[in-house]
Amino acid sequence: MINPFAPIGRGFLGMLAEIGRFSAFVGRAVAAAVSPPIFFGQFLRQCMQIGYFSLPVVGVTAVFIGAALALNIYVGGARFNAEQFVPNIVVLGITRELGPVLAGLMLAGRVSAGIAAEIGTMRVTEQIDAMTTLSTDPFKYLIAPRVLAATLTLPILVVVADIIGVMGGYLVSTSSLGFSGAAYLRNTFNFMEPQDVGLGLVKAAVFGFIIASVGAYQGYRSNGGALGVGRATTNAVVVAIVLILAVNYLITAFFVE
């Protein structure tokens, strides 16, 4: 007789095994990142790749989200005669939530997929094996620089996203909603508190870590040629997005409580 619970049990055990493998991978990556030799050139290259070259996509996303947020808050606020709170809620929403989450989601698509595809291709073409035979630890040369670079540059990207997002709200509010520019900025700065930005930066660092480690893990474990690399890339994006959203809730709940 077929046990209907067997597939559920198998899936659950499989998930636990995957979590175990991922945890071991992350532990090895962190150990590689904090022990010599450090490949500083690789780290700088990844900072450019992950941080600098992501500026346009994060900036464009932030300006539109800030603008749309201002319009929505204006419409919602009008129901309670609270339209004047647009700058306050825009800055709160951008710095605490939308800046880090949207930057994280954009980088999950751009960076996590890129890392998975690059390392996955290196895996299936034996470049990672070649690196090992050349007395170079792939965790130190390939993975640690990416994890470090993503963890350190995402907070910087989020600061930029915060500024541009607030400016998106400012532009819409001053051009279409009748706000005075000076009053909008005064309200923004008076209302914003350091912990709002701080919370966003903590989230950004954690998201950066998730994005790079998930991408590297999926790529490192990929097999089966082009199909395997494609699957690794898709998994990297999906897993990174789900983890970002789940961890975002946990961090928010922790700081709010």
Partner: protein, 253 residues
């Protein structure tokens, strides 16, 4: 005399299948051993176990008499520095130029300055007859034969004690394949190292081997000098060398 490399009773199971079932091989200094065998018989797994890229389930990998499977990671990494490897597809790093590929180990593991590393890379390119004007191009711009030459230059640059070759002539035209075979013989002789190759290209095996071993069903079923290959007295070797579909080995189609 102690063998440079010795595999003793190597067993490895992958996805429930016993790929290696007690492989024993050894190769001495200045000797070239070629392992032949059909696809899926465990040649690549044998090489990966020897190189430390895969951990055997049982058995020993002895390098100069010391078992690397039981060594702590740092000591094992030092022993692995004695190895050089030419991969089947070249396995050159796409993101680096040809000279950076060749000098990868010098720059990243041996901490040689980039200027000196470049000079040594170009010297290695000359040895494998790869023109220095290709030093700054990306590997993707090289032909298959040139990629093999670059891979060979990368394998020999640090003067290894043991060289491994994984299907060195696969995908090459017969003339280029023969040139690569000549280079392999020359490099092994120049370096005075031990060499282990896996291939199913018989002209290549005959040219580069002092000894040939045949792997079938995870075991070495025959081993002898290259000169004995055509009168091995082993039905499987005879079938494989003749390239016949009928015989004790079932063709996988």
């Amino acid at each position: 005399m102690t063998a440079k490399l010795q595999l003793v009773g190597i067993k490895k199971k992958l996805r429930g299948r016993q790929v290696l079932d007690g492989v024993d091989i050894d190769v001495g200094e200045r000797r070239s051993l070629v392992i032949i065998g059909g696809s899926g018989q465990g040649k690549s797994v044998t090489l990966k176990c020897a190189l430390g890229l895969m951990k055997p389930d049982a058995g020993q990998v002895l390098v100069d008499g010391a078992d690397v499977t039981k060594m702590p990671e740092e000591i094992r990494a030092r022993v692995m520095r004695k190895f050089g490897m030419l991969f089947q597809g070249g396995a050159l790093f796409d993101s680096l130029s040809v000279w950076e590929n060749i000098a990868f180990r010098l720059i990243n593991a041996d901490k040689v300055g980039r200027g000196e590393a470049r000079e040594r890379a170009i010297e290695a390119m000359r040895k494998v007859r790869l023109a220095p004007e290709f030093a700054d191009v990306r590997p993707i711009e090289l032909s298959g034969g040139m990629q093999k030459r670059a891979g060979l230059a990368r394998a020999i640059i640090a003067k290894p004690d043991i060289l491994f070759f994984d299907e060195p002539t696969t995908g090459l035209d017969p003339i280029t394949a023969d040139a690569i075979n000549d280079l392999i013989v020359e490099m092994v002789k120049d370096l005075g190292c031990a060499a282990v190759s896996i291939t199913h290209d018989m002209p290549s095996a005959r040219k580069i081997a002092d000894e040939i071993a045949m792997l079938h069903d995870g075991k070495i079923v025959w081993r002898g000098p290259t000169a004995d290959l055509d009168h091995s007295g082993n039905a499987m070797v005879e079938q494989f060398v003749a390239g016949r579909a009928d015989g004790p080995i079932q063709a996988v189609v």
